[in-house]
């Protein structure tokens, strides 16, 4: 069963251009100039129940905009979307009771009050049964290790602690669909790790359908089997993390250790030389000729050790991002 279905979802922001200088801006009072920003350009996507999907993309790719559309915060320019059978921007209460959105850069808790008070408000708004409320709150604060912070004003919490409190606020009503927009942004390594561990365990237990955006590879590698790479408002890739390599990386990294003093003077016919540390050499070889080049290397030279590796994922993805940028500019 599909929980999320997007068809040709498009969002264009009309941005008014500020003019330089006083005279020009006075003129702008009467005649405004604007520019269209195509934040999301025809996205098709289906997500099944219980999937944990990552949206990976550079800044400005349209990740947040997509989540805002799915949460019904903004209206689309065209296209359709259904989440749990609802059209998000119709803003039905029945829908709003069943999903949650967490934004790493914004907070919804009352700043001057302990998180506890905000949670009680949530309990009223979502009509959570007292017993269930206590149980869920207890479970979540336990998992995140923040039980003793409940009575402390939110403004006195660290960024990491605040993020955990925000997560709890979003999960109190046990949403079936969860949208997470960069939940680990700005956190230190330990806090990032904690949040990741928590999400992993929570999803495993509850089978919540989760859509997470991030530009940290680590989030994605730790949590999601399915990755959607989005750049310039379009989906560039949809599949497994490992599949990104097959699809976008045209080469492998081969490291050879030659027998003492047997290193050939010229290795360029075999591939691009990345690093030479005699008797070791690191080569970049086209994926489809790896076997062939390796065979001839081994038959012509005396080699003690070989390793064949995939290039680092970060590099490949950075490459995908920059390729998308170039093709857009072209």
């Amino acid at each position: 069963m599909n929980v999320i279905e997007l068809k040709q979802l498009t969002k264009t922001y009309r941005v008014y251009q500020k003019k330089e200088g006083l005279l020009a801006s006075l003129g702008g009072l009467f005649q405004r100039e604007y520019r269209d920003v195509n934040a999301v350009r025809g996205i098709d996507l289906t997500v099944a129940k219980g999937e944990f999907v990552a949206f990976l993309g550079p800044n400005g790719a349209g990740k947040t905009t997509t989540l805002k559309l799915l949460s019904g915060v903004i209206n689309p320019t065209s296209g359709t979307a259904q989440v749990l059978g609802y059209v998000p921007w119709e803003r039905k209460n029945a829908y709003r009771r069943r999903f949650a959105l967490v934004m790493g850069q914004k907070n919804q808790l009352w700043w001057d009050l302990p998180a506890n008070e905000s949670y009680r408000l949530h309990q009223q708004i979502y009509r959570i049964e007292p017993a269930e409320f206590t149980r869920t709150l207890d479970e979540l604060t336990g998992l995140l290790g923040v039980r003793e912070l409940l009575r402390q004003p939110v403004r006195e919490l660290s960024l990491g602690e605040r993020m955990k409190m925000e997560l709890i606020a979003a999960l109190l009503h046990s949403p079936e669909v969860l949208f997470l927009d960069e939940p680990t942004i700005g956190l230190d390594v330990i806090a990032q790790h904690n949040v990741r561990q928590f999400l992993k365990q929570y999803q495993l237990e509850r089978q919540t359908t989760i859509l997470l955006t991030s530009h940290y590879m680590k989030d994605v590698a730790a949590l999601c089997e399915r990755v959607v790479v989005i750049a310039h408002g379009q989906i560039e890739y949809d599949g497994s993390l490992a599949g990104i390599l097959d699809r976008f990386s045209g080469h492998k990294i081969v490291t050879l250790a030659f027998t003492e003093n047997q290193m050939p003077p010229d290795l360029t016919p075999f591939g691009e030389i990345l690093e030479v540390l005699p008797p070791k050499v690191k080569l970049r070889i086209d994926r489809n000729v790896v076997a062939e080049k390796l065979a001839s290397l081994l038959s012509q030279h005396s080699v003690e050790d070989v390793s064949v590796e995939e290039p680092p994922l970060e590099e490949v993805i950075a490459d995908v991002f920059s390729r998308a940028t170039r093709s857009k500019e072209a």
């Binding site: 029945a94 008070e117 708004i125 009509r127």
Partner: protein, 288 residues
């Protein structure tokens, strides 16, 4: 599981409680605000005492019957209505404009509760209720003097008192509708700093008995602020129900005006809700 709607009263009580907890953590600030509000109110009273001293037992507008004690009731009503607005709606409407500007309105859309309710009642400025207390005191003094004066004393009945509070509620509703409509326009305008100024200019007209406009071109102001932006009704209708400046009352401002006030309240409320939901459709969040 049945789809349970939140109980609005309970949500509101939680809001009010949270606001109080918050104000109590900044206690000094709370008392300073109370004191400054009361000081302003007392200066306001002093100003009118001087004016009535100059008028020397004449009413505020010729033949209107708004003498000092009647006007005390009027002034008290002004304080009561505006303190309610100040306490329950002003902080929320200001916050609303701010939420639009920063894009933090996003979260409001996620909650399974009426969006206008959530925005309108999220905070209570308890310190503003200091003037509510002042209003009640002045009202008591005014009414007590009117009912005990030897010359043409006022006779009060329960119906008058109940109607008085009913029309105070109408007045608050009209002011609220005006405010939330003004604030909602900041979704279209991007930023609306002049909101507060505009609010101040407009509401200024409501602070005087409407008879003072009944002069030549003053009638056009009277028409504008009665029928187009019905701000004149807000204080005038409840105040004259209680103080009855002309005893017996002349025909032209009695029943027709009270009936019109109910209509105006309903129309304002409906229009503001339309403006509000129309504006929300145009909300575009902010890039973060």
């Amino acid at each position: 599981m049945s789809e349970q709607q939140p109980v609005l009263v309970r949500v509101f009580l939680t809001f009010a409680r949270n606001s109080l907890v918050r104000e109590m953590t900044f206690r000094t600030n709370f008392f300073i605000q109370c004191v400054s509000a009361i000081s302003w109110t007392l200066m306001n009273l002093g100003f009118y005492l001087i004016i009535f001293h100059h008028l020397n037992r004449k009413p505020l507008a010729d033949g209107s019957g708004w003498q000092q004690n009647e006007f005390f009731v009027f002034l008290a009503t002004t304080w009561i209505v505006f303190s309610i607005v100040q306490a329950f709606f002003m902080p929320n409407v200001q916050e609303f404009s701010e939420l639009i500007r920063t894009g933090n309105l996003d979260f409001v859309f996620l909650k399974p509760i009426d969006t206008q309710f959530l925005i309108s009642f999220a905070k209570v400025d308890w310190s503003a209720l200091a003037n509510f207390v002042m209003g009640i005191l002045l009202l008591t003094v005014g009414v007590w003097r009117l009912t005990t004066q030897s010359n043409n004393p006022l006779s009060l009945n329960l119906a008058n008192v109940l109607l008085y509070w009913f029309y105070v509620a109408c007045g608050v509703t009209i002011l609220y509708s005006l405010m939330i409509s003004l604030a909602a326009t900041s979704i279209w305008l991007g930023r609306n700093q002049s909101l507060y100024d505009f609010w101040f200019y407009i509401t200024n007209f409501s602070r005087y008995p409407m008879e003072i406009y009944a002069r030549s071109w003053g009638w056009s102001l009277w028409g504008l602020f009665t029928f187009v932006i019905p701000i004149l009704i807000v204080i005038n209708v409840p105040a004259r129900i209680l103080a009855r400046p002309l005893r017996p009352e002349g025909p032209w401002l009695g029943l027709p005006l009270s009936g019109f006030a109910i209509l105006a309240t309903l129309v304002c409320l409906v229009i503001s809700r339309r403006v509000f939901s129309l504006a929300l459709q145009s909300y575009r969040s902010a890039s973060s």
